[in-house]
């Protein structure tokens, strides 16, 4: 935004949230009083800077908060704000669609009381609430320890942190992680802080299973062949993040399977150009790299957009931008090495599909089990994910496979002996999120 405004443009910013800041620097509703230090901890200065520069830009841009982009076709976006549809044309589009938690299903994961790590964090940051009762935090990735720290500090009863990553992996990842010593130090600080307060941390945890009737009441796991069970009321869980790629796909961007993210991602060059002229990609929506990298990739995409527009007109300024653009690309490539280190330290469960039982619910929306998916492979010969969707309804529900898509692909790959890339990707449909039927009809009448 800043880069575009400085170049004399007046961009339109469409934000699904009510206030600027995205997920990491999410702002609570007006009238909330906690300081930025309390809300964002070590990241308070960055949050302050980001919110500050947004306020300065606000009168220079067309800001549309609380607005969903529910469809994207070449040159046009379909919007929904306050239940009312609207169409918006564009010549240039920067997609910053962000990410959500990657969750691999486990027994009991649909019980009330089980949430994603991100959900648990949003409850605290944006609503001043924590998960009630005895809380277990389980999964893998850096957010695990950050959340445990934030929760314990805020007064939640954190009884255990279960890390599915092993110590060996972390040791192997050390050289890559040392590329960002501050980030690494923060992680180690959170772990030490938790240990000092007597909060149990278990590494190398496997086969997590939640139990309960109306709500969660206990959690079981194995570690070094030994099974442990504890009573708890809430579980926050996640295994890294997944990019939200739906709008890029609808915009016609070419998607390629990315080994690092284990996901189909819109292809982008170093500057953030997609395969579609005029459509740019920034932030975690086209590969997970974190909040700092998101700011840099936003700047890079804006510079690319200006270059493509032939701006700024004078040659010296043009050269300065080109040189900054190269510098940003270099920094972002280095950042990727750190991200590769994180993947080594916190690997996604590789043999997850082999271990999940037939009665495990994979798709929360349509309540489709692993067994139903496997039967479709055996009896109907499904070898492609959209065929599997048509036959079993997996990924056909309200979330369009955002939550279950990765798991369904793993099961299909395991059952067919193909790779996750070979089984294909779930095709997205508009609307990318549920909208009232009346809005869709009104939009159709307008066009």
């Amino acid at each position: 935004m800043q880069t575009l405004v400085e170049a004399g443009l007046r961009p339109l910013l469409i934000d699904e949230n009510r206030r600027a800041g995205g997920q990491i620097y999410r702002q609570p509703p007006p009238g909330f009083v906690r300081s930025k230090k309390v809300l964002y901890g070590f990241e308070a200065a960055k949050a302050e800077a980001l919110h500050g520069s947004f306020e300065q830009l606000r009168s220079k841009i067309d800001y549309r908060p609380d607005t969903l982009v529910w469809n994207c076709t070449p040159g046009q976006l379909d919007l929904l704000h306050a239940q009312r549809p609207a169409a918006q044309t564009y010549t240039h589009l920067i997609l910053c669609t962000g990410a959500l938690d990657r969750v691999m299903p486990f027994p009991g994961w649909t019980l009330p009381g089980v949430y994603t790590l991100g959900a648990a964090q949003v409850a605290l940051k944006a609503q001043g609430c924590v998960l009630d009762g005895r809380v277990v935090i389980a999964g893998s990735g850096p957010l695990l320890y950050l959340l445990a720290y934030q929760y314990a500090k805020a007064g939640a009863d954190v009884v255990a942190v279960l890390d599915t990553a092993r110590f060996g992996g972390k040791l192997r990842a050390l050289p890559a992680l040392l590329r960002q010593p501050v980030t690494l130090a923060k992680g180690l600080y959170f772990m030490a802080w938790l240990r000092a307060r007597g909060i149990a941390i278990f590494g190398g945890v496997e086969h997590i299973a939640a139990d309960g009737k109306q709500t969660l009441h206990s959690l079981r796991w194995t570690r070094k062949g030994k099974t442990t069970e504890i009573a708890c009321n809430a579980l926050a869980t996640g295994f890294g993040l997944r990019s939200e790629t739906q709008l890029a796909e609808l915009a016609g961007c070419r998607l390629v399977f990315d080994q690092l993210n284990q996901q189909w991602l819109p292809q982008r060059d170093d500057a953030g150009r997609s395969s579609v002229p005029g459509v740019y990609l920034a932030g975690d929506g086209s590969g997970i790299a974190g909040a700092d990298a998101a700011e840099l990739s936003g700047r890079a995409a804006a510079l690319a957009l200006l270059q493509d527009l032939g701006l700024p007109p004078n040659a010296a300024a043009k050269n300065a931008l080109a040189s900054e653009s190269r510098q940003l690309a270099h920094t972002l490539r280095r950042n990727l090495l750190f991200r590769q280190g994180l993947e080594t330290a916190f690997p996604t469960a590789v043999d997850w599909a082999r271990h999940c039982a037939d009665d495990l619910v994979v798709c929360r929306c349509e309540e489709i089990t692993a067994g139903q998916l496997r039967r479709s492979v055996q009896q109907e010969g499904s070898i492609e994910i959209n065929r599997l969707k048509a036959l079993t309804r997996v990924g056909m529900g309200r979330c369009q496979g955002r939550i279950c898509g990765a798991a369904a692909a793993e099961i299909l790959a395991h059952a067919t002996g193909l790779s996750v890339a070979e089984v294909g990707r779930l095709r997205v449909q508009a609307p990318v999120k549920p909208i009232p039927v009346s809005s869709a009809l009104m939009a159709q009448e307008q066009t």
Partner: protein, 101 residues
């Protein structure tokens, strides 16, 4: 049993709303999800097995927190702000009882 516990931002104005015919209090700025889950432990029942659900992602992605209001309007609890006088249903009561609520 409640699923959420308030630990900050307690000095806000109250909002009253109805859940399954019962009058409850929330605070201005609460999402529908916060308003409901600080009192109880479910938002809906699934269409297929009837299992209770209480949301999952809280950022408008998983679509597992869609509630119904008494007049049949669908409300995504995590992204909708609670409003004075809202009349919400959690799917906990059988339909017949709900008619008289």
């Amino acid at each position: 049993m409640s699923l959420l516990k308030r630990v900050a931002e307690l000095e806000r104005q109250r909002v009253s709303f109805w859940l399954d015919g019962k009058a409850l209090n929330a605070l201005v700025g609460d999402s529908v999800l916060t308003a409901v889950l600080t009192h109880t432990d479910q938002l809906r029942r699934t269409e297929f097995s009837g299992a209770p659900r209480a949301g999952f992602c809280l950022i408008g992605c998983c679509q597992d927190c869609w509630m119904r209001s008494e007049d049949g309007v669908a409300v995504r609890a995590c992204t909708t702000e609670i409003e004075e006088g809202m009349r919400l249903l959690s799917g906990r009561m059988p339909a017949a009882e709900r008619e008289h609520a």
